[in-house]
């Protein structure tokens, strides 16, 4: 019998608490809290940035000052004092060239998170960019990648080494004028990852960035920019965790993806920011703008996300299908438990002819949480013969939680076909008893059933992530029934 390793993962989940809630005791370089032009100049100076980038930041900041935080989401967000946040915090150590130079304390932290920065120790070929608070700590497998002409490094590094490329693509998919948080990020972003795969190159290994918030009272504002040039292919994964704290922390990131003619980008993320405690105290506010563009003909982008963490999640990884025959996919599992809130979904904007998009969204709500899917499928009049299939399923555990769907459709021509399916279900008592009768305790049974429910999405994740995601789903829902 062929055994599928993804199947055999749900082992005993013993740890009821957020596993990654520890704090690393490391010397950190903070700047004063608050937000003004001087702070932005200071961040830019710390990062030794060129003038054009400082300009970009200042423009964004000035624009941000004219904006108000939007209120349309189905979220209850306590007021955020933007002057009470520290916008830059970095472990004191400088970016390491080799492993010996990395502070052992930092290495230990990432080891504890299951991210090995030691290339020798890695079994699978995954290049990692490890980001702690505002800076990148280490990027692995640089040499392997540069052999193929692939650029994968921290954003700050890229600004220094490949300023033309960064300048060419920065803010092209998500301009700083896009929304309140995009403007904020563009003004204060600290680090993140930059990836460029040249024409015709298939990236031989998975690329991944691991974001870790460590310092207290800080916000995290990273930027990720992924470019696949004509005919290129890359699979990129992103993971994240944060310590357990009573105060809320703001995370407002931007991800931009550009897929040129005949290129393909697969973006996967398992979002596991600290969700707050059982009573809804603490946790990360995750307000993120993610967007990709299939710029040339036949380009492809797929977003796969598993959202388990954050006190509040507010994001819509989207695609602009600009070229003809382009393909975009969005696969999402969003789990909320206790007092978590999520308003998430996607936008598919069809501009090219014969472009196709697929949306599979699986919401799972438990406890007192609120879980919403918000999606827009838009086909412009010129985009003939487009297809969209959307499926939005909600699974409810218990009767204190809420599931909502807001699908919006704008179809500008008659030759395009848009389909939408939606279901809402509960884990049946029959299923639970059937599992119980086979000796499987209820909590484990829920993990099993939920993972089965999310299977279509989990199957889209790279193997390294699928394992992690399945465990996470089980852990997140522990204590949600009974």
């Amino acid at each position: 019998m062929e055994s599928n390793p993804k199947e055999n993962i749900i082992e005993e989940v013993t740890n009821k608490d957020y596993e990654f809630g520890f704090v690393t005791d490391i010397e950190t370089d903070f700047i004063p809290k608050g937000l003004n032009e001087d702070i932005i100049r200071l961040i830019s100076k710390k990062k030794e940035e060129p003038e054009w980038l400082l300009d970009f930041r200042l423009k964004a900041f000035r624009h941000w000052q004219t904006l108000k935080m939007p209120t349309w989401a189905h979220l209850t967000i306590p007021p955020i004092d933007y002057q009470d946040i520290i916008y830059y915090a970095a472990p004191k150590q400088r970016k390491a060239k080799s492993l010996d130079e990395v502070d052992p304390e930092l290495l230990a932290t990432f080891d504890k998170l299951g991210i090995s920065l030691d290339e020798q120790k890695k079994l699978s070929g995954v290049a990692v960019d490890a980001v702690m608070d505002s800076t990148s700590v280490k990027t692995t497998f640089q040499e392997t990648l540069s052999k193929h002409g692939i650029i994968f490094m921290s954003f700050s590094e890229a600004v220094k080494q490949h300023p033309d490329l960064v300048k060419k693509y920065l803010g092209k998919v998500v301009p700083y004028t896009d929304n309140f948080f995009a403007a904020l990020n563009s003004a204060v972003f600290s680090d993140g990852s930059f990836c460029y795969v040249p024409k015709g190159v298939r990236c031989p290994i998975e690329l991944s960035t691991y974001f870790r918030i460590n310092a207290a009272n800080t916000g995290q504002f990273e930027r990720t920019l992924i470019v696949a040039d004509e005919g290129a292919y890359v699979s990129y994964m992103e993971g994240c965790t944060a310590p357990q704290r009573d105060e809320n922390q703001l995370h407002a990131a931007i991800v931009e993806i550009i897929s040129e003619k005949d290129a393909e980008v697969k973006y996967s993320t398992v979002q596991n920011w600290y969700p707050g405690d059982k009573d809804g105290k603490g946790g990360i506010y995750n307000f993120v703008t993610k967007r990709g563009i299939c710029r040339g003909d036949n380009a492809k982008i797929s977003w796969t996300q598993v959202e388990t963490g954050s006190a509040i999640t507010w994001k819509y990884p989207s695609c602009i299908l600009k070229g003809d025959n382009t393909v975009a996919e969005f696969y999402s599992v969003a789990v909320t438990n206790n007092w978590q809130q999520a308003d998430t979904g996607t936008k598919m904007i069809h501009i090219g002819k014969n472009s196709r998009s697929t949306i599979i969204s699986k919401g799972i709500s438990a406890g007192h949480s609120q879980n919403g899917y918000r999606g827009l499928v838009k086909v412009v009049p010129e985009a003939t013969n487009c297809r969209n299939f959307s499926q939005c399923d909600s699974l409810l555990l218990g009767d204190q939680c809420g599931a909502h769907t807001w699908p919006y459709v704008e179809c500008g021509n008659d030759s395009s076909i848009l389909e939408h399916e939606a279901t809402t279900s509960k884990i049946s008592e029959d299923q639970l008893f059937y599992c119980n009768q086979r000796g499987i305790p209820t909590e484990k049974a829920i993990g099993l059933i939920v993972n089965g429910y999310a299977k279509d999405v989990l199957n889209k994740l790279p193997m390294e992530f699928a394992v992690e995601a399945q465990k996470l789903l089980s852990i997140t829902l522990e204590g949600s029934v009974g």
């Binding site: 062929e2 055994s3 000796g439 305790p441």
Partner: protein, 250 residues
């Protein structure tokens, strides 16, 4: 005695369904329970396996020397009680392999054993599948999803073979089976049967008892056993129907 049920009264939603049920089962025995529709056979099976909502208002269920009333269902299962469901449940997205592996390892954990290695597990799956003549393909399918009626029942017997229970309750496992499937199911039971385990077979048809030969046959009516006998009782029921049983009760 493996199972000893004394004066069991069970209510569902305040309505009494079992009204003083008594039954003793020793290791090595096969019992058959017959009786008209709605008389409480499945209710009895649910009460023994600990299903929520089946309120035990009176009586005791002794199993392996302890009264298991109030014990959670998974613990009863791990102590060796197995139910072949009258209506097996579908679990989309969960493969039979993953489901069985979770179940087998849950039992091992309960017994203080480490999880079974993938190699041993795969071997065991193969062997038990062969026993109930299930094709390999069936095993990578999701639990009962899209299974035919007969396949579902065979799948129940397969799970029984995997978990090696001491007490197996088969609730109408023969209903809806064609003659080949009936033979396969019966073969499975007969291969598993030994002096250390026991079977309680709930059925409407004497036909099954030609394949699985019971030591005792009980007739149930209105929430209790009204007559017990040997295999011949099943033949008598087939011939005379249940009318005379109803009179027995009065």
């Amino acid at each position: 005695m493996l199972l000893n049920i004394k004066n069991l009264h069970v209510s569902i939603g305040g309505k009494e369904i079992l009204k003083g049920f008594n039954l003793g089962v020793n290791e090595g025995e096969i019992h058959a329970i017959m009786g008209p529709n709605g008389t409480g056979k499945s209710t009895w099976a649910a009460a023994v396996t600990g299903r929520e909502g089946y309120e035990i208002t009176e009586g005791e269920i002794w199993y392996k020397g302890q009264n298991i009333v109030g014990m959670p269902p998974e613990e009863r299962a791990n102590l060796g009680i197995f139910l072949s469901f009258q209506y097996p449940v579908e679990i989309p997205g969960v493969s039979m392999q993953n489901f069985m592996r979770t179940a087998v390892n849950a039992k091992r954990e309960y017994q203080g054993l480490p999880p079974m290695s993938m190699i041993d597990f795969t071997k065991m799956m193969k062997q038990k599948q062969a026993m109930v003549e299930i094709t390999e393909k069936l095993q990578n399918r999701y639990v009962n999803v899209g299974f035919s009626g007969g396949e579902k029942k065979k799948n129940e017997i397969f799970q029984m073979a995997m978990l090696e229970p001491e007490l197996s309750i088969l609730d109408e496992t023969d209903s809806g089976l064609d003659i080949d499937a009936l033979r396969i199911v019966a073969n499975g039971v007969n291969q598993l049967h030994n002096e250390h385990n026991a079977f309680v077979v709930i059925t409407h048809y004497q036909r099954l008892l030609d394949y699985i030969v019971p030591d005792f046959v009980h007739v149930m009516y209105d929430g209790r056993i009204v007559k017990s006998g040997d295999k011949k009782l099943a033949l008598e029921l087939e011939e005379k129907g249940y009318e005379w049983v109803k009179e027995l009760k009065l």
